[in-house]
């Protein structure tokens, strides 16, 4: 362990803090909250125009800024809230907690006055924020408000299509996204194999997607970070809200534990299609549910405690003969402590797991797998002056992987019990990052993350001739599973393999004037966990596996350059970014690899690489009756798995080829029109180049069946994917601000009934035996209605 190193860094930092003090300056700090609920606001801006100086609140609503003594007008603003101005006479360090009001027309007009211009001054780039209010207005399939699907409207974000889980950021895999819910890792973000996301929109406060320029406090995934925060709950009064939809219904309760000091929130969501099946005496059932909870309590002005949890499951049961259950669970305990008005800290202990279970009674087979992790984080934010802020901390994660256990379900079953070798790993990291204002025009964010990875016992590790777990059959030119020559046993917590990496992070912004800037960033990200998946989008069955002696961590490097401008009095924003990203040690699989319940994954894995590059454009209209954005992404994503020696052919003859995330063109539009205070209308349009696929270039007969023959990988494309969706929101009594308030959302997904291809399969007709191409499409035009309420 590098605890000495950590101590040294912390000591160094404390020295900086001590010397950072300046006599003439005073510190203004506090918390920004919503006045109707005391809910803390993330990313609220605190601006002092006369200096000029600004800061924004952190994930816990805290801000701190150190400025010369004086009399100031302080402006506080945030998305969805009315801007507030306060006069402060600052002659000593001052605590200023501010509560601001949501835009007056709560359910209805949040969008109209919402302030969401691009922050041109901050060094942060390649970041997209979406407010829940915006997401809720978007038309969605079957009326299910979906946090993840709304991300697909952003530049640089795509996915494999309808019904596909996960999302791809800048040509990266879905497994390369770090998805955090209240800081806890979510390993599978989808319900029902990708139709819906695991996030209950009612319980979500804020979300932020980092596509590049990723801050050093994040690590562990190669492509992006999706940082989702749950609401804290209303500590002023008791409220409830919910919705009734075609697929699921939601109910959220929140209220004070101790007024103005502590609150709770509990939100549940469940689907109920199976209830109708039950009514029709059908023995099958299929449903999902999730539960979000959070408690917070303010011990005193310097200490707050948070406890939050998530539990979600999908359940399928086909007449008792087939049972499939899977889902995530997370819980965490956080302690916010203010060491001083300049030093904010948060200590978190987080547990999260993912479970997958499958039972096939007709063959007497039961399969369980999962991953658990225990995560300890201690993060500091040190507001040294109005020019410099330091973020630093430590993080340690212990992983416990269950790659699978197989057991018989009945006495007569022929299945033998088998527990696949469990895997353990430990991933500690430290980070340090400075946000520094060099001049009025130049802002930098720079730092590093130093991470280590220990693959731990107990474990039985296979040893191979020449250390090659995959062998190349030179005569047949095919890759084959290696045959272990011996096995080595490692005891409890014995180190099997160690990796360590320094991950530099850097971003800079240069303001051309108050409204436009140029930004550049570089980040290195290390991913020590691999999702073992060989399909076009992840499935719930896919298992996570740690880096070990054979499977190396993915190393991603990304550079990005951007231009940002607000114009017409901040009515419009334009964002242009280009990026180039490479990922080393991207795993690929030998032909015919069996990935499920495979105890020796190293025998089917080859190391390859991934590269992607592109241009992203986004034009946004921020205010007015009509608002929304248009985005366009032109990009490439390619992969290569060369032979390890000159004799070997690699995959696809060792050539670069389109990865399945390659979408040359990606156009998205989302708009909302507020027609009156009763009616508003929304529309989404998405158009993407079809997913790369491999079509047959011939056929032959073998053993009485027709076999398609294939050439090089991913040389063809599915037809272009596009759909237009519309929605209308109706509020019967917009004036009503108390008691029962309601709204209706009507929507049509895929208005012109485009039959987008989820896949095209080449197969023989069962009756005639003739070959044909069969398109499988999931959604035609889907109308939906849902009813939302709150009181």
């Amino acid at each position: 362990m590098k605890s000495n190193k950590i101590t040294a860094v912390l000591l160094l930092l404390l020295t900086i803090i001590a010397t950072g003090f300046s006599q003439e300056k005073v510190t203004l700090s506090g918390t920004i909250t919503a006045d109707n609920s005391n809910e803390t606001i993330i990313g609220a801006n605190v601006i002092i125009k006369s200096i000029p100086a600004y800061t924004s609140t952190n994930e816990y609503g805290f801000y701190s800024i150190t400025i010369p003594k004086g009399n100031y007008k302080i402006e506080i603003s945030s998305i969805g809230f009315q801007t507030k101005e306060i006069n402060v006479d600052l002659n000593k360090n001052t605590k200023l907690n501010v509560s601001i009001s949501e835009n007056s027309e709560e359910l209805q007009e949040v969008i109209i006055t919402e302030k969401k211009t691009t922050n041109t001054q901050k060094a942060e780039m390649s970041v997209n924020k979406l407010s829940i209010a915006t997401i809720k207005k978007m038309p969605v399939v079957l009326g299910e408000v979906d946090v993840l699907k709304s991300l697909l409207l952003l530049p640089g974000v795509a996915n494999a299509g309808e019904g596909a889980s996960g999302f791809n950021v800048r040509g990266g895999g879905a497994d390369q996204n770090l998805i955090l819910l209240d800081e806890a890792t979510i390993f599978n973000s989808s319900h029902v194999f990708g139709f819906f996301s695991v996030f209950n929109p009612d319980a979500i406060k804020d979300l932020k997607l980092y596509k590049g320029g990723i801050p050093s406090r994040f690590g562990g995934r190669a492509s992006s970070v999706l940082d989702v925060y749950q609401k804290d709950g209303n500590s002023k009064s008791f409220h409830a809200n919910g919705g009734i939809g075609l697929i699921s219904s939601r109910l959220l309760l929140e209220g004070p534990i101790v007024k103005d000091k502590g609150s709770f929130i509990i939100a549940g969501r469940g689907s109920y299609a199976h209830l109708f099946l039950k009514l029709s005496s059908n023995k099958n059932s299929a449903y999902f549910y999730d539960l979000n909870t959070k408690l917070n309590y303010k011990l005193n002005k310097n200490n707050s405690l948070y406890v939050s949890g998530y539990f979600g499951r999908d359940v399928f049961n086909l007449a008792g003969s087939f049972t499939n259950i899977y889902g995530n669970a997370t819980s965490n305990l956080r302690w916010n402590h203010l060491f001083s008005d300049k030093l904010f800290s948060n200590l978190s202990f987080i547990y999260s797991d993912y479970y997958y279970g499958l039972q096939l009674d007709f063959v007497g087979f039961k399969y369980d797998s999962g991953i658990k992790n225990y995560n300890l984080k201690y993060d500091f934010k040190n507001y040294i002056s109005d020019k410099i802020k330091l973020n630093y901390g430590i993080n340690a994660i212990y992983y416990d992987f269950n790659p699978g256990s197989i057991s018989p379900t009945t006495l007569e079953s022929g299945i033998n019990y088998r527990q696949l070798d469990k895997k353990y790993a430990f991933e500690p990291a430290i980070y340090l990052e400075a946000e520094q204002k060099i001049t009025d025009k130049l802002e930098l964010m720079y730092g590093f993350r130093y991470s280590q990875f220990y693959r731990l016992g107990s474990s039985k590790v296979n040893l191979y001739q020449n250390n090659e777990a995959v062998t190349f059959n030179n005569q047949l030119k095919i890759y084959e599973k290696g045959i272990p020559i011996a096995t080595k046993l490692y005891g409890n917590n014995e180190v099997i393999k160690t990796y360590d990496n320094l991950e530099p992070r850097f971003s800079a912004s240069y303001s051309i004037d108050n409204n436009q800037s140029i930004k550049a960033s570089y980040n290195r990200m290390i991913q020590y966990l691999q999702l073992v998946s060989n399909t076009s989008s992840p499935t719930p069955l896919d298992v996570w596996t740690p880096s070990d002696s054979y499977i190396k961590p993915q190393i991603a490097d990304q550079v990005a350059l951007g231009y940002f401008k607000n114009f017409n009095d901040d009515t419009y924003s334009v964002e242009v970014e280009t990026f180039y990203k490479t990922v080393k040690n991207r795993i690929n699989y030998i032909d015919g690899a069996n990935l499920i319940a495979n105890e020796a994954l190293e025998q089917v894995i080859l190391n390859g690489q991934l590269r992607s590059y592109g241009l992203e454009l986004m034009l946004r209209k921020n205010t007015g009756k009509l608002n929304g954005w248009v985005s366009y992404t032109l990009s490439r994503s390619e992969q290569q798995t060369p032979g390890r020696t000159a004799n070997e052919i690699g995959i696809n003859n060792g050539n670069w080829y389109s990865s399945i995330y390659d979408k040359l063109h990606n156009v998205a539009f989302t708009g909302n029109y507020n027609w009156s205070n009763k009616w508003s209308f929304g529309a989404n349009f998405i158009l993407q180049t079809g997913q790369p696929v491999t079509y047959p270039n011939g056929q032959y007969q073998y053993q009485g069946i027709t076999i398609p023959s294939f050439g090089l990988r991913n040389e063809n494309r599915l037809p272009t994917y596009h759909h237009l969706d519309i929605s209308a929101t109706y509020i019967p009594k917009p004036q009503k601000k108390k008691n029962w308030q309601a709204e209706w959302v009507f929507s049509i997904y895929n208005v012109y009934n485009r039959q987008n291809a989820a896949s095209i399969t080449f197969k023989q007709n069962n009756e005639t035996g003739a070959n044909e191409a069969v398109r499988f499409s999931i959604f035609g035009a889907v109308p939906a209605v849902s009813y939302n309420f709150k009181f």
């Binding site: 019904g163 073998y702 069946i705 076999i707 069969v774």
Partner: protein
């Protein structure tokens, strides 16, 4: 993946208007390649001396005729230097041997000489246990109108074994293949499952169980995964693969033939659906 298909189809049926449509897709056609179908099958209780090898070529995907290859010289030699000649019959591209001698676990070598090019392969004749019993269960599946046929056999507990099931119900022209390895049921009685809502009383249901080699198991797994009827139809598709068998072009390694040289003992039942 099959299970996911079931679930997906199920979700599809309750939630949405998911559908399968035959579409026109323009396809390229590669240079024709030689295909050698040299599957030696020895049915339990027979002499196994009549065997057939077929030669054909790849062709455009939508063609209804498969071009055959005539005029080749084909023979198999065994470890005792016995030579078994395969002579082209009156069915073009079909070469027959009537004096083949199968011996379990013996190594054999195939030689094919066609158009001046020599192709060779070696393989071992694998044994198979007998089919113990066949069980039929009616009214299963999501809609309750599917029929299940379970074919039981007992694995040899002392060896690592690989099996290939071929199911051929009379309602369709296309057989279904299913490859199994004994890793999860070493030494136990285990089953191969076929389920369909198209099975009806009185239909024939042919079952063939063959013992296969590890390498042939790997080959068949890929083959099954890319032959559309055995896979596909869901967004969770595995990448397509070029299936390379065990036959080598001794003149030009890069221009390899398709197909496989396999030798299996097999057990066969013709089951009448109740």
């Amino acid at each position: 993946m099959k299970n996911i298909k079931i679930i997906l189809a199920f979700i599809g049926s309750i939630l949405v208007s998911s559908c399968e449509t035959v579409v026109d897709i323009d396809l390229n056609t590669m240079e024709p390649k030689l295909v050698i179908e040299a599957a030696i099958r020895w049915q339990k209780g027979t002499l196994g001396n009549v065997q057939t090898i077929k030669l054909s070529k790849t062709t455009s995907y939508y063609d209804t005729q498969i071009p055959t290859v005539s005029g080749a010289t084909i023979f198999i030699t065994d470890a005792s230097n016995n030579v078994f000649n395969f002579v082209e019959s009156n069915v073009a591209g079909s070469y027959v041997c009537s004096n083949f001698t199968p011996v379990l676990n013996r190594n054999y070598m195939l030689t094919v000489n066609s158009n001046g090019t020599t192709y060779t392969a070696t393989e071992t004749l694998k044994s198979v246990p007998q089919i113990d019993r066949i069980e039929q269960i009616n009214n299963v599946g999501f809609t309750g109108d599917a029929t299940e046929i379970k074919t039981y056999y007992t694995d040899n507990g002392t060896t690592q074994d690989y099996y290939l099931f071929k199911f051929k119900p009379s309602y369709t022209v296309i057989p279904i293949y299913f490859a199994q390895e004994d890793i999860n049921f070493q030494g136990n009685q285990i089953l191969g499952l076929y389920r369909s809502d198209k099975l009806e009383s009185g239909q024939n249901f042919e079952i063939t169980l063959s013992g296969i080699s590890r390498q042939y198991y790997n080959y068949m797994r890929i083959l099954i995964s890319i032959a559309g009827n055995n896979s596909g139809g869901s967004p969770f598709q595995s990448p397509s693969a070029t299936v390379r068998g065990n036959i080598i072009n001794t003149n030009n390694e890069a221009n390899y033939p398709l197909g496989y040289f396999s030798l299996s003992e097999q057990d066969y039942r013709n089951y009448i659906v109740n």
